[in-house]
């Protein structure tokens, strides 16, 4: 029972979501192939080959794969699925996977299954719906399933493999779209989706200046990633890629510190699987306190600097 994992990468390094997807693919119990489609992507392919559980790395190297455009990749993957005899095609449920895999599924005339959190058997999956308030068991009798997997539900694949890298023929350049610009956040901090500790801020911080002044020193002290509620992103305190929640990033760190976040269900959907949740909010009735392990009812403008100092 073979599976194909679609690697997400920048031609040099794999995204961590791909490591989680490889672990999910091993739950099918068979051989795992990894497709690295990119341009001058030898480094990414070599990293994929070093991962435990990989049977082989299939490398499609062409200029029209440089930017991971869904139109070109979907046609390539459709061709490989036809000849490869795969039981499942998987990718992480990141913006890359969510953009690409439904397109692949439609080309293959199969249903896609999004945000899978458990693979009980081939064709037997579990996924959250209604912002994580309901978990549904999904059964498929399709010969081929197309899945995006929630990264927090599967450990990242370990290194220690030495799979061969085999070139595969490129598909056509459809020329339907092209990337004209990217504004990527640059940060020395851990990736939000994979961090052990997340410090997250909400509307209660009042401004972007306050967010930086209060939360960055705390995150620096803890080696934490920074996150935010939708309200804080909408208000322009931080960029969109900080958002944690139903429609933002899903995180499950060991420690999640929610500062000035009231706790709308859409936010809780993105962080309620954290091992330990701390909430700091001046409103004792804020819903975040209902799920927090440690709640501190306090003025965050005093409590956060004191916490940062207290951790020294």
């Amino acid at each position: 029972m073979k599976t194909l994992v679609i690697a997400e990468h920048d031609n040099t390094r794999l995204a961590t979501a791909t490591l989680n997807a490889i672990t999910a693919a091993t739950r099918f119990g068979g051989e795992v192939d990894i497709l690295v489609a990119g341009h001058r992507c030898d480094a990414a392919a070599a990293q994929a080959a070093s991962l435990a559980g990989t049977r082989r790395v299939l490398k499609a190297d062409a200029a029209h794969y440089a930017d991971a455009l869904a139109e070109n990749l979907a046609v390539l993957i459709r061709g490989m699925a036809g000849s490869g005899g795969y039981r499942a095609i998987l990718a992480g449920a990141s913006s890359f996977g969510k953009n690409l895999l439904p397109r692949v599924a439609a080309l293959l005339d199969v249903a896609a299954i999004s945000d899978v959190v458990a693979i009980d058997a081939p064709g037997r999956y579990q996924r959250p719906i209604y912002a994580g308030n309901v978990l549904v068991a999904v059964e498929s009798d399709q010969p081929l399933d197309v899945l995006t997997v929630r990264t927090t539900a599967f450990d990242p694949a370990a290194t220690g493999g030495s799979a061969p890298v085999e070139p595969v023929a490129s598909g056509p350049d459809l020329g339907l779209s092209r990337v004209t610009g990217r504004e990527l956040s640059k940060s020395e901090r851990p990736e939000l989706g994979a961090a052990a500790i997340v410090v997250s801020g909400g509307r209660g911080l009042g401004s972007g200046e306050n967010y930086q002044r209060l939360l960055e020193p705390l995150a620096d002290r803890l080696g934490a990633a920074l996150g935010a509620s939708r309200a804080a992103v909408d208000a322009g305190f931080v960029p969109n890629d900080y958002q944690v929640g139903q429609t933002g990033k899903i995180v499950a760190p060991g420690l999640y510190i929610a500062v000035g976040i009231s706790g709308a269900i859409q936010h809780l959907a993105g962080m309620k699987d954290a091992k330990v949740i701390v909430a700091i909010n001046k409103d004792p009735d804020a819903p975040i306190f209902q799920i927090a392990d440690y709640g501190l009812v306090a003025d965050l403008f005093e409590a956060v600097p004191a916490l940062t100092a207290g951790l020294a």
């Binding site: 995204a15 953009n99 439904p102 549904v136």
Partner: protein, 253 residues
């Protein structure tokens, strides 16, 4: 208006954003009896964007389309009250999964020949985030998902997308499919006069069976459950107690 766009906007009827859903005792689904239903919030953003493009003279017509039971007419009236020009209900009483909806929308697009489809990026009931991408695949059109900015040009569309690492800008050839993210716009509230006017706008009902496409469900949703509720913890008195608990009880720092 010669080059103005005809825009198709698919809308879905879902359990209202503010409702706390409950699983039915037979685990076959969530309780829908007596529950408030609304237009999917992301679809509302899609309608708003299309109406703004028409108001700016970039679009000539905005057509709202919904696939589902007769009650979806309410959802379409919401879109009409926001400013859509006319509406189409593709009526079906069977459960429609994303691939089936994409196939029906493909059939509507082939009939209506829009240059642009703007969908919500996901519906807040099944959280699938699939239909727009599937529709783009079936039509062979380019796609721009998670859009936070849409700028039409001459035969092209420039779209800024919210991606994991930040923002990405794509240039697409038209026709194209765009899916709306939260920050694309803030939808207007329908005014009472516009709600009244919407009642008189054309709403065409077409049986799904008439399109002759395969809409049978491909997946079975066999068991619904509420995840184990997280237990609330304790309130700490001050920062010193918090640090102590994190160090010595939770041992996470």
């Amino acid at each position: 208006m010669e080059n103005a766009l005809k825009i198709l906007v698919p809308v879905k009827r879902v359990v209202d954003y503010n409702v706390k859903v409950r699983v039915r005792s037979d685990q076959g689904g969530v309780e829908l009896a007596g529950v408030k239903m609304s237009i999917n919030p992301f679809d509302e953003i899609a309608v708003e964007e299309a109406v703004r493009l028409r108001e700016a003279g970039t679009a000539s017509e905005v057509i709202a389309v919904s696939c589902g039971g007769a009650a979806c007419q309410e959802t379409l009236r919401s879109a009409l009250a926001m400013g859509a020009d006319r509406a189409i209900l593709v009526e079906s009483d069977i459960e429609l999964q994303p691939l089936a909806v994409a196939r029906l929308l493909q059939a509507v697009a082939l009939r209506e020949q829009p240059q642009l489809v703007i969908c919500g990026k996901q519906a807040i009931d099944d959280d699938a985030n699939q239909t727009g991408q599937m529709l783009a695949a079936l039509l062979g059109w380019p796609q721009a998902t998670f859009a936070s900015k849409v700028l039409p040009g001459d035969g092209t569309l420039t779209v800024t997308r919210e991606i994991d690492g930040g923002l990405e800008t794509l240039a697409l050839k038209l026709p194209a499919v765009v899916t709306a993210d939260l920050r694309l716009n803030e939808p207007r509230y329908a005014t009472l006069p516009n709600i009244m006017k919407a009642k008189k706008k054309p709403l065409e009902v077409m049986p799904a069976a008439g399109f002759g496409v395969d809409i049978a469900p491909r997946l079975r949703h066999t068991r619904h459950a509420e995840p184990a509720a997280r237990k609330g913890g304790i309130k700490v008195a001050d920062v010193a107690e918090l640090v102590n608990k994190l160090r010595n009880e939770a041992k996470v720092i």
